[in-house]
């Protein structure tokens, strides 16, 4: 029983990390029709920058952690906005070229990160409380799981409120439905593109700092490995659906944890099988629009 609780809570925590990456992927794809392969690089860059900032005021302190999260998010946002302005915008409406450019950027940045920080993972000095566990219904849950869940919930709530209550949120919701009609109402939809990239990059950068806390290391490859699952989550949830991404994040991560524990470490296999099943039965994903 306590093992099951442990798996469920850590599963949801891992789902939180997936969602921080998948939310941006989903928003970007929904509005712009672009699969952003560079999204993992925003995460990695956010992680390195956030941890450097944390180290500057005291690695392992609460102040360091908070500053690290903030800097990670801002770095991810800045990197993403620059990517959109510099590489995506000049290729306006040329989706294949846009996707290829993000693939190129992801390969180039990983090489760059390896050049700067070395190819191997570096251990980090974690916050003492985060390295500890809390007992819940007999299970000893790593505290990072709670932080991940909290952060993902706040990001989900924040994005939903932004989409629902702001003018740009309205433009983004409309643009996901019918982008050319948004321009035909006199709205420069390109600003919304940059904004969506920045919001997605901020969530990814935040996810990078949190992932480093959970893993206890940073590495130039952490973005790429999380990105794979985030893509799977985005497809299962329904490309472009934020709620779909949230639900699928939790489903995928919990299933993965359970299978890893009870079915001979077959978590990754089970996730891929789930992806295949969803694609066969509901090609548009759990909450994707059927079109």
């Amino acid at each position: 029983m306590s093992t099951l609780i442990l798996l469920l809570v850590t599963g949801v925590g891992l789902g939180g990390l997936y969602f921080l990456v998948a939310s941006g992927l989903s928003l970007i794809y929904g509005l712009m029709g672009v699969l952003n392969f560079a999204h993992g690089s925003f995460l990695t860059l956010g992680a390195f920058a956030g941890l450097a900032a944390a180290g500057a005021v005291g690695a392992g302190t609460w102040g360091g952690l908070l500053l690290g999260l903030l800097v990670g998010a801002l770095t991810g946002a800045a990197a993403a906005a620059l990517t959109e302005l510099g590489l995506i915008r000049p290729l306006y409406n040329r989706h294949i070229e846009q996707v290829l450019v993000t693939v190129g950027l992801s390969l180039a940045t990983v090489a760059l990160f390896e050049g700067i920080w070395g190819p191997n993972p570096r251990n980090i000095t974690g916050n003492a409380w985060l390295s500890d566990t809390t007992e819940l219904l007999g299970a000893r849950i790593p505290n990072t799981a709670f932080l991940n869940i909290l952060a993902a919930a706040l990001v989900l709530g924040g994005i939903v409120a932004f989409l629902r209550y702001t003018r740009y949120g309205l433009i983004i919701r409309a643009g996901v439905e019918n982008r050319s009609m948004v321009t035909a109402l006199g709205i420069d939809v390109r600003k919304a593109f940059t904004l969506v990239f920045a919001v997605g990059g901020a969530a990814a950068g935040l996810g990078g700092v949190l992932a480093a806390q959970s893993l206890n290391y940073v590495s130039p490859h952490m973005g790429a490995s999380l990105l794979i699952f985030a893509f799977i989550v985005t497809v299962i949830g329904g490309m472009g659906s934020l709620t779909g991404a949230a639900v699928a994040s939790v489903v995928v991560a919990v299933l993965q944890q359970l299978a890893n524990s009870y079915l001979n470490n077959s978590g990754d296999l089970i996730v891929v099988l789930l992806l295949a099943l969803v694609l066969l039965v509901r090609p548009s994903g759990l909450m994707g629009r059927t079109a």
Binding site: R173, A184, L185, I187, V189
Partner: protein, 284 residues
């Protein structure tokens, strides 16, 4: 690049509000508009006519910069053919696309809020009142998702989005397509009211609606302009209607009531259209 505030430099009522010269456009590499030229006068309704698939919608989209195009588009004396769609719109062009294109997942209020613009040709209190007066239904249904509205109500939303702003011109594409006769005349009423405040370039298939609203016509065939003139001249000439639009005035499908009697009674198409329009509106 372009002259600013051209309206001040020009005497009122003088030139056309929109001039299209040698406009060509392509969709997916295929040319669908061929060297089209026409003017839209600064008042009243200019109807852009032609059979299905001749390029009317594509012409409007090309003017709006929504598809790849070449040629001159002059709005209020300024070249706009190199501008992006949203810039053209902000110069005062209201676009009511074919098939309404409301945002189905957004509420009526959100659809309208999205369409509100700021600036010279933007939303004004007077315009908001006009929209509220013309479409009281929309105020009632403000919180309803646009996707759950009937076709007629969606058309009202689409028209309202354009009418909220102080536009210099409206481009309206088949606003009565697929609507029941009673709704057709409601839409025509709204367009007639709008036409008193802003010039309209109207694509329309329904001859009764054309007869009621249009002052001038531009006829397209196979992506080229084949006729330009007063609306009356076309509507009074059964042979021209048949040749350009491929319909007999008396048996227009889908729209309105069929007209009783026909050319056999020696009436001009225009009179028949008159009758049909009366019948359609008499049902109110």
């Amino acid at each position: 690049m372009s002259e600013h505030s051209p309206r001040l430099d020009r005497p009122q009522e003088a030139g056309p509000v929109l001039s299209v010269r040698g406009l060509s456009a392509r969709i997916a590499g295929q040319q669908v508009v061929h060297d089209v030229s026409f003017d839209v006068a600064a008042t009243g309704v200019t109807a852009l006519l032609g059979r299905n698939g001749v390029g009317k919608t594509s012409t409007l989209k090309a003017v709006m910069g929504l598809i790849e195009r070449s040629g001159e588009v002059v709005l209020d004396g300024a070249r706009v053919d190199a501008e992006r769609t949203e810039r053209i719109v902000c110069r005062g062009v209201g676009y009511v696309p074919e098939d309404r294109e409301v945002f189905a997942g957004l509420t009526v209020a959100e659809n309208l809020r999205l369409a509100e613009r700021v600036g010279d040709h933007g939303t004004s209190p007077a315009r908001k009142r006009l929209v509220a007066d013309l479409f009281p239904d929309l105020t009632q249904r403000a919180q309803q998702r646009a996707g759950t509205l009937s076709g007629g109500q969606q058309q009202m939303v689409s028209l309202a989005r354009a009418l909220l702003n102080e536009n210099r011109i409206l481009l309206v594409d088949e606003p009565t397509k697929g609507l029941a006769p009673r709704i057709v005349s409601e839409v025509a009423d709204a367009l007639a009211a709008a036409a008193r405040t802003v010039p309209i370039l109207l694509v329309e298939q329904n001859l009764q609606v054309i007869d009621r609203l249009a002052d001038r016509v531009v006829v397209i065939d196979a992506g080229r302009v084949v006729h330009t003139g007063p609306a009356r001249e076309l509507l009074d000439d059964q042979a021209m209607i048949q040749r350009f639009l491929g319909v007999h005035a008396e048996n227009e499908p889908a729209h309105g009531e069929p007209v009783p009697g026909a050319a056999a009674h020696g009436k001009g198409a225009h009179d028949q259209v008159r009758e049909a329009a009366t019948i359609a509106e008499g049902g109110e």
